[in-house]
């Protein structure tokens, strides 16, 4: 940045400086605000988490369920879900993308009922016999079935995926070739599969019969175990899990997740960097050396001597030098030869200025000063004596 220069060049310099500052501030603001603006649509909330109050969360449903006397237990790992499950519980799985097959098996063997909502993997394990028919648009649909929970709720925001259930199952909310809600009972468990869970979010809960449907489905048992997504997917699926059993064969390291081409691209980039280094490293001609004259300030010896006086507190020598210099300067003014002694100079100076000779004699040839303050005072007094002689 250019510093303000004097005169007419000042104003454009200021303007340029202000423009610089403004552009830097603008850049900082843009980089700070842009990510916020971009991420607003998918606010940082955790989708379908009973503890999340954002539009994507489901805290409202959890509160409603608790108000209806249902005990809501929020768990983050399959192990905890299985441990919390009992014969009189309903296990709600809203975030199952982190489940591996082993975990899915153990959830399927857990006691109690199951409610799967949204895109659930390992459907063949969790809900055997239910087949996916294809994705459908999520919208408000009519139940068109006999399932009391759905009939009582009426229209609801469903869709997402359509299923066909096994023999003896009940399907509601027809969509596409199948139904977006399928319920069947097997081995004493009631398993419900929903194609889309967004009707349970805080955003949709107040629409149509969404709240009623959600309460009817999730509040069917006195205790609801809600398996929400963990904070850290790696931890849930990996050996760091609290039960330690989830560390299945499908756990993958970071290296496995990187596409194969990246490694080769990095290799190619290394080649590029090496070539760039060769380009920058090649000098255009030799380095030119020159024998330069020594740079030494002539006053360095004097400064060194001054520091030496200071460090040894050599007040006697310093006072001697100052007095001799003053006497040397006074002598010609007083009409004395250069060889005059300090005493003669002092007497002549006292006579010229009309001062008492005794203090002048002490000033010019007295004992050395006792401390630094006295030395400073001595120098000032010598100066004033010279001034008096000069002006007299």
């Amino acid at each position: 940045m250019t510093a303000g220069v004097a005169g007419t060049a000042r104003t454009p310099g200021r303007v340029r400086q202000a423009a610089w500052v403004a552009s830097v501030v603008l850049l900082v603001l843009v980089t700070a605000v842009l990510p916020l603006l971009l991420s607003e649509g998918q606010s940082g909330g955790r989708t379908l988490d009973p503890a999340d109050t954002s539009l994507d969360g489901s805290a409202a449903l959890a509160r409603l369920l608790q108000a209806h006397g249902v005990e809501v237990v929020r768990v983050e790992t399959p192990g905890a879900a299985v441990a919390a499950a009992g014969p009189q519980t309903l296990l709600l799985v809203t975030e199952a993308s982190f489940l591996n097959r082993d975990a899915a098996h153990r959830i399927a063997e857990a006691p109690g009922d199951r409610l799967m909502a949204g895109a659930v993997p390992h459907l063949d394990v969790l809900a055997p016999g239910v087949r996916r028919e294809g994705p459908v648009r999520a919208r408000s649909r009519a139940p068109e079935c006999t399932l009391p929970e759905a009939v009582r709720a009426g229209d609801a925001y469903t869709g997402g995926m359509s299923f066909t259930g096994p023999r003896g199952s009940t399907g509601c909310y027809p969509a596409g070739d199948g139904r977006s809600l399928v319920r069947y009972t097997a081995d004493g468990h009631t398993v419900t599969v929903l194609g889309d869970a967004s009707f349970m979010t805080n955003l949709r809960l107040a629409e149509d019969g969404n709240a009623a449907l959600a309460l009817n489905l999730a509040g069917a048992r006195p205790k609801l175990v809600w398996l929400a997504g963990p904070d850290d997917f790696d931890e849930a699926g990996g050996p760091g899990d609290e039960t330690g059993e989830e560390a299945g064969g499908e756990a993958r390291s970071l290296g496995d997740l990187i596409p194969g081409g990246v490694k080769w691209a990095v290799l190619q980039l290394i080649v590029a960097v090496a070539l760039t280094a060769l380009w920058r490293g090649r000098r255009l001609g030799p380095v030119v050396a020159e024998r330069l004259p020594v740079v030494v300030r002539a006053a360095e010896t004097v400064e060194g001597r001054g520091r030496l006086y200071r460090s040894r507190r050599a007040r006697d020598r310093a006072a001697l030098a100052l007095r001799a210099a003053a006497a040397d300067r006074l002598a010609p003014r007083l009409g004395l030869p250069r060889t005059a002694t300090p005493e003669e100079v002092a007497v002549a100076a006292a006579a010229r200025t009309g001062r008492d000779p005794e203090p002048v004699l002490t000033l010019l040839c007295g004992p050395p000063p006792g401390d630094d303050t006295a030395l400073v005072t001595l120098a000032a007094h010598l100066d004033s004596l010279e001034r008096q002689v000069r002006d007299s």
Binding site: K263, A265, L267, G285, V288, V295, R297, A298, R305, R317
Partner: protein
């Protein structure tokens, strides 16, 4: 050979292809092969640098503080155009610009490039190397070669004190009696007799001549002419100390060496003495003769002086005063004015010059000129704090020593000029004029 930035850029772009390609390993291999082929082809197609021929023209001499242009003719006898960059490398203190130029010489043609030198210090500045990088048609690789194309520019002392010359020449004309002002010439050498005119000093009437003629006749005088002046420059360690502020921008971070200030003073004195009709010789000495000018004609004196001074640097050795006096005595057989430009360093003087001074001052008029340090004067005025007063005491001690050595030198009949850097040249010229007016040469 040399690569260009395009090679690296191509390799980096290939990394994107590698990222997207189905068989990345093969692409890496293919990219390396393609790059190698391209670079080789570019090298083969680049204009040949081996056969290039160079010729320089331009200035051989320049004053410090000015700029000079040096031409460099590049002759391409080859069959292909040489395109790329050229670096004309000079010593750093030559201040050569531009550092690199783009070069484009078609086959069997020549081009002239210009380098501007703005030296930052005195002396001989040499062209070190000319490096040519000839880039191929693809701009991926280049042939490179360094040539030695010698050229030396002598950077002369700037002679900044020449601005004091007109005033001193006017004083000289006053002494001569040729000044427009009605002042009698104050010379001491009898010139001629002429008729008395009103306004002449009656003391200059020559009564004997007046008696011979029927008219009143006065004697006219003129200053002494054809005296010899020997300027001796001490190039020992005491001349290396830097004092004052460098008068030219960029010519010194912490002032100029005493040597350069002394040269400035010597040049003013030489110019003045040459105009006054004296013969000027020059000698630079520390432990041996570093440079000398003797018997130069008046018109060539200044140019040969600056030429002799230009390459002199202060040597970090104690000057050999006895050898210096011997050198002076062997050169100056007749009585002459010996101007010794050195430092009034008490210890160096007491051990070096003082013991041998009588042999010099008994036969010659000696003037010792020295550059005082304004920093010491500033320190001597320091008051108020203990630190400042201690520094002031140290400075006063040095000044006392200088006063002492000055007094000793004056007792030997030596004139002493001790002045601040900017004032030393005019002060020395004034001392010379005073000696001339007093007829002491």
């Amino acid at each position: 050979m040399a690569l260009t930035g395009r090679t690296g850029l191509l390799a980096a772009l290939a990394a994107i292809v590698v990222l997207l390609a189905p068989a990345p390993g093969l692409v890496v291999l293919a990219a390396a092969l393609v790059l190698a082929v391209l670079v080789t082809a570019d090298l083969l197609l680049a204009g040949a640098v081996r056969g290039l021929r160079f010729r320089r023209d331009g200035e051989r001499r320049m004053r410090l503080g000015q700029s000079a242009t040096i031409g460099l003719v590049v002759d391409n006898p080859g069959g292909r155009r040489v395109r790329g960059v050229l670096r004309d490398a000079w010593q750093p203190s030559a201040g050569a610009a531009p550092r690199r130029v783009t070069l484009d010489v078609p086959a069997r043609e020549r081009r002239r490039l210009v380098t501007t030198l703005t030296p930052t210090r005195r002396g001989d500045r040499e062209a070190v190397a000319v490096t040519v990088r000839s880039v191929g048609p693809l701009g991926l690789a280049a042939r490179q070669r360094t040539f030695h194309v010698p050229w030396t520019v002598r950077v002369l002392p700037p002679f900044l004190s020449r601005r004091h010359l007109p005033a001193r020449l006017a004083r000289l004309r006053e002494l001569d009696g040729r000044h427009p002002a009605l002042v009698r010439g104050q010379g001491t050498e009898f010139d001629s007799l002429r008729e008395y005119v009103v306004g002449d000093d009656v003391r200059s009437i020559d009564w004997r001549a007046s008696a011979r003629r029927s008219d009143v006749v006065v004697r006219t005088w003129r200053p002494e002419r054809d005296r010899r002046v020997l300027i001796v420059l001490d190039t020992g360690r005491t001349s290396a100390g830097r004092v004052g502020e460098a008068p030219l921008p960029g010519s010194g971070r912490s002032g100029w060496p005493r040597l350069d200030w002394s040269m400035d003073a010597a040049l003013l004195l030489a110019a003045l003495a040459a105009r006054a009709g004296d013969r000027v010789d020059f000698l630079a000495y520390d432990r041996a003769v570093r440079a000398q000018v003797s018997g130069a004609s008046r018109t060539e004196l200044l140019s040969s002086l600056v030429d002799a001074m230009a390459p002199i640097e202060a040597e970090l050795v104690e000057a050999d005063a006895a050898g210096m006096v011997a050198a002076v005595l062997s050169r100056a057989r007749r009585r002459c004015l010996v101007v010794l430009l050195t430092d009034l360093n008490a210890t160096a003087m007491e051990e070096g010059l003082l013991p041998v001074l009588p042999s010099l001052s008994s036969r010659h008029m000696v003037v010792v000129a020295s550059v005082a340090d304004p920093r010491v004067a500033g320190m001597a005025a320091g008051r108020g704090t203990a630190e400042a007063v201690y520094d002031a005491a140290a400075a006063e001690r040095l000044r006392g020593e200088r006063r002492g050595i000055t007094a000793v030198l004056r007792r030997h009949g030596v004139e002493v000029v001790d002045a601040l850097p900017e004032d030393v040249a005019p002060a020395l010229a004034d001392a010379y004029l005073a000696l001339k007016a007093a007829g002491r040469l």
